[in-house]
């Protein structure tokens, strides 16, 4: 089942459990599980889109993959090797291959550093090339992301949000990574700029053959950018399928509700969003059993209690978190 050879990145049963402490003595009062038993695969040169609302755990997952945080259990395989507990020099070498682009472009760039210094930083840290070689590479990268030549001497505050995101992308490309994790990277941008950046990302992927893990809360954007789409809810992946399939044939109740809520930009088709009672529950004390079933008060919710919900492939390429209340039988 697990073909470790073919996939670039594979996650198996990943869990991130964060103890929640409160009170004067900071005693552990609960556990937050931003990532709860997630298994995913990203083939080389392809994009896996991860869509989920706030609190679904996407950012935590992204950080774990880039190894900015340590998972509590489960495994991450990169290029066939287990990188879950890697440290020190091996971790440094790994960082060359997995990069991240953050949501807020302006705050991910040190305002006191010039653009040239910012893009050069990864090269300096990884001790790649000599001074003049690095600077040449920086110029090349900036040109690739369609920024003007004189941008090297300027500072982030002189650029708009979209341009700052280009700088961040140039920086992520500096080490020639195989996988880039994009955490909400186009979410804060205006529509026209968003489109430009998405085009740029697609272009770069085609040219360099990188894989992307593209995360957002905007389903349309994710669908547009991805080969495969995985839907996350409260730390679990509830459904995963090729982009077109998940749009045409959503199986999980949450996916259906999500899709129906995306505003359709055609005034001629009035949509009827599936009404959901209640709000997204807190990740602190998630209800037992199927969290979504609990939220919508599904009649078959009780059946899900106490069960380990399996994540299965119902049709080739289409995975579902099987649960009596949410998925089809």
């Amino acid at each position: 089942m697990k073909n470790k050879g073919s996939d670039l990145l594979e996650i198996d049963g990943l869990c991130i459990h964060v103890p929640h402490r409160s009170g004067f003595f900071r005693l552990k009062t609960g556990v937050v599980k931003p990532v709860d038993e997630i298994s995913l695969k990203i083939p080389p040169g392809k994009t896996l889109g991860l869509v989920g609302e706030s609190g679904s755990g996407k950012s935590a997952l992204g950080k774990a993959i880039v190894r900015l945080s340590q998972p509590s259990s489960g495994k991450i395989y990169f290029e066939g090797r287990d990188i879950t507990r890697v440290r020190g020099r091996k971790l440094r070498a790994l960082r060359k291959k997995i990069q991240m682009v953050f949501q807020d472009s302006k705050s991910s760039l040190n305002p006191r550093m010039s653009v040239g210094q910012l893009v050069e930083e990864p090269l300096r840290l990884q001790k790649v090339g000599r001074g003049w070689q690095r600077r040449a590479r920086v110029a090349e990268l900036l040109e690739r992301v369609e920024l003007p030549r004189n941008a090297m001497r300027k500072f982030p505050y002189e650029f708009s949000a979209g341009q700052c995101q280009r700088i961040a992308i140039a920086r992520a490309l500096a080490l020639d990574p195989k996988l880039i994790v994009l955490d909400g990277s186009v979410s804060d941008l205006d529509v026209s700029i968003q489109a430009q950046i998405m085009n740029l990302l697609l272009d770069l992927q085609e040219e360099k053959g990188m894989s992307y893990l593209f995360m957002s809360h905007d389903f349309s954007v994710v669908k547009h950018m991805s080969d495969m789409v995985a839907v996350m809810y409260l730390g679990k992946v509830v459904e995963m399928a090729p982009a077109e399939v998940i749009y045409q044939q959503p199986l999980h109740a949450y996916t259906k509700a999500f899709l129906s809520g995306v505003p359709n930009p055609s005034p001629f088709e009035q949509q009827a969003p599936i009404a959901l009672q209640g709000d997204v529950p807190s990740a602190l004390n998630p209800p037992a059993g199927c969290a979504f079933g609990h939220r919508v008060g599904h009649v078959r919710y009780e059946e899900s209690l106490g069960q380990e919900l399996p994540f299965e492939e119902v049709t080739p390429g289409h995975w579902l978190l099987r649960c009596p209340c949410c998925g089809p039988i």
Binding site: D190, P273, V280
Partner: protein, 325 residues
Amino acid sequence: MSDLLDVRGLVTSFDTASGWIRAVDDVSLIVGKGKTVGLVGESGCGKTVTAMSILDLLEKPAGHILEGEILFKGEDLRKVSAKRMREVRGGEIGVVFQDSREILNPSHRIGKQLINAIRLHRKISRKQAKMRALELLDAVGIPDPRRMLVSFPYQLSDGMRQRVMIANALSCDPDLLIADEPAMSLDVTVQAQILDLIDSLKEKFEMGVLLITHDLGVVAQHCDDVVVMYAGRIVEHGSTRRVYSDPKHAYSKGLLFSMPRLTNVCKHYFQTIPGHPIANENLVSGCRFCQRMDRDKSVLLRTRPEYLEVWGDHWVEVCPECYKG
């Protein structure tokens, strides 16, 4: 006159480090009773400033309304006394802001804030105000209104807080509701609920709604008319169906094309609007979209294009380059 709100030639200017800048440059729009008008545009185009100007909530001393008339039910809000303006604000025009966390006072219970808001505009007793508050909370779909009254803002989720804000805005039966990105920071599932709520309340209370958003999909689903703003000016306006099916201005076209849609083919390139937004101080007096598109014709950049009705109630800024027949 069925026009609730009739803004004519509004010009709002700010005093910045680089001099006076017109954030809103000759904007006119009409909101009729029972209609939702969507004011759409990207960040920095001046839509929020327009709303703040209507309500006279500009940051002083920097912001000034230079010209224009703001006719609300026939009364020019620029000419009324401060007292009357206070009555209008909240009493006849309800406002829903973007970030509920900053609007609600974190140290007061919801009930207290609601009741105070109600009693500010109506001379009724506390008990009656409380009854009204409960009614409102129920109308906005809050499951346990009594419990909500004694809760604090921090105890609520974003969706709930936004509902409370809407309840607050509706507390005095306003005739006009101005909603500035009411569902922006909310999750998609909650967003749909909130917007539908506004729609149903609009029908129930017979209000006019001015919905400010950057999301073209929201406008398509919830607005009868749409006003497209760019760089402080209106470039196109008309009924939503007309403008969406046949956008006339290059900017509107560009916006509609560069929206990612679920119906799009995956991993397909967009038709985008090139260039990036130009800072306010560098905007020309002529066609600003031509400036963004980097069109060299100095004539276009100097003379402001006219704003004409090109079809039945479909108006466009007729710049020779941006509007082509």
